[in-house]
Symmetry: C2
Subunit: 331 residues, 2 copies
Amino acid sequence: MASIREVAALANVSPSTVSRVMNGTANVDPEKRERVLKAIEESGFTPNEVARSLFKKSSKTLGMIIPSIKNPFFTELSSAIERTANQYGYRMILSNTGGNLEKEKNAISMLVSMNVDGIVLATSNAGLRSYLDNCKTPIVTIDRLISKNASGGYIHCDHYEGGRLAAEHLIDCGCKSIVCVRGLDGISSAKERFAGYLDVCKENGIKEQSIICDYDFNEGLAMTEDLLKQYPDVDGIIACNDMVAISIYKVLHRKKIRVPEEIQIIGYDNINLSRLMTPEFTTVAQPIEKMGVKAARLLIKKESNRQQEYIFSPELIIRETTKLQKGADAQ
Amino acid sequence: MASIREVAALANVSPSTVSRVMNGTANVDPEKRERVLKAIEESGFTPNEVARSLFKKSSKTLGMIIPSIKNPFFTELSSAIERTANQYGYRMILSNTGGNLEKEKNAISMLVSMNVDGIVLATSNAGLRSYLDNCKTPIVTIDRLISKNASGGYIHCDHYEGGRLAAEHLIDCGCKSIVCVRGLDGISSAKERFAGYLDVCKENGIKEQSIICDYDFNEGLAMTEDLLKQYPDVDGIIACNDMVAISIYKVLHRKKIRVPEEIQIIGYDNINLSRLMTPEFTTVAQPIEKMGVKAARLLIKKESNRQQEYIFSPELIIRETTKLQKGADAQ
DNA sequence: AAACATCTTGAAACGGGTTTCAAAAGAAAA
DNA sequence: TTTTCTTTTGAAACCCGTTTCAAGATGTTT
């Protein structure tokens, strides 16, 4: 509320002196310093961070933009980024866009205006590309690719390999009729995972079967009904993420179809919940924690980012929704 | 990137004219308007939202502060608020604090600096009280009470009644040894729910048994082990929220204790997940949606806030983790 | 005492939109 | 043609913290 000029008047010094006391940027006469401190105390003055960042070009803040706050993959990712940012004295603010292009542009422009020191974008709207290429604020895209020119780099987990891992595992588990539940078409990660699945199918001479589903459990519920109608002999399902895997299980359970005896399910992401479910879900893990840390460190310049692309490896986590034919284990 | 003065120079007009063209605040000669529009186009100018809000006192933005982004209660709440804000042309930004006092102060001061039009605070740090009382930006506290003076009002669900509902239901279900898993001591909502439980115990002459647990499933996992040691004859558990209920179930299932046959569980909040689980969880529902809409509307001044306190009613949702002795049903 | 070095301090400019105010230009009325 | 009213326009002030720059004050050296 109170401004630096009011504090200055109260302490009978100039605004510059108040600023110097607050920031310790220069010596101030001890007696005046006392007066200033007292005036700050009395007026309950807190500096306006925005006016401050308007001049300096940093706000010690990272911005994060996610498509869905209800998807634990993104909340776990943002937690990792925030924790890392905090370690370096930065804060993080979050903006949820639901994948809406206008909201995304809007969020970016607000974040840039705030002089955030970097933005991590976990969103995949192709319409953002030109926006990104012209943005002076470093942006790292994570999980999904929009533009290779994004100033801050592109962090992702090898989705193609993840798709392969899932498909190979179901084959190892004896599945003969595997259905791949693909993410929406516009999402680069979904495309790559599907490509991995496709190649494994070809190599093993199995039929390619797929169905599209948004990353949301309500969508998952409805989609599963369709899936069962369309592929009545299905015995293995690759879900596009763990939330959808959970909703697939829900529908199967309601229909008294046993998992993994009749149909096996493998999820994707390895969110905390996948381990908390009963049964525990087999899934392809993304190193969420590591990816988040990397993103934060890149933006805070704790790591050189000469490199443009950072690829992490997925890992198969075998739990209770699939059943290996013989031998082997993981986790 | 480009500033309004650069655009002005390009179009050969004054900055004021550019501002007028952008905002339609006054008539501008059609020919000059064209020049300005063209200059904006060419320079890729986007107005600096912060500089703008530094002058105007509004930024068409709501801020939200939550203690844990991993707790679906808060993400569902923030989704409701955001959706409502968007309907009125406002955006929302989110700040996650982990309940840390310093981070909360920090978040508030940043939000205030940004000239957000209102803050919704779902956090419960008593140390924030004086902060809130002096804050010129309207703040509504939701779910948890900090100060009755909070400018924007206090929205909550009747926690005492919720505690009663849960306890009475377990009694109706025939439980003889009920353990109440209480939230942390500093949290007002947790205290009130516990008070409700306590009164029901007294009225029915049952033993009061409780254990403290943070709102987090990892805590829940560890706490459940203690609970079983401390109260080996427990046959009914009131969880402090749905996430904890899920982790309690997890531990019981691992130990081959059947739910609800041997131990019945009731959660709290009615997050989406509670319905997605197998078995589906009995819970005390908070009207998350309604509370969020209310908070947003209050701050956006779509509703007068002469009133200071808005109390919603909890609702018992009976599902599969409890078993009524005779008759009745819901949802 | 004069000359020089050092420290402390406030005025002013800055960053980027917005708005007020008064001047200039144009149009209508006398 | 002159007066009056209306419209358009830019200069300048504003929001608020920071920083530069130069002046003032103090202290040190010869």
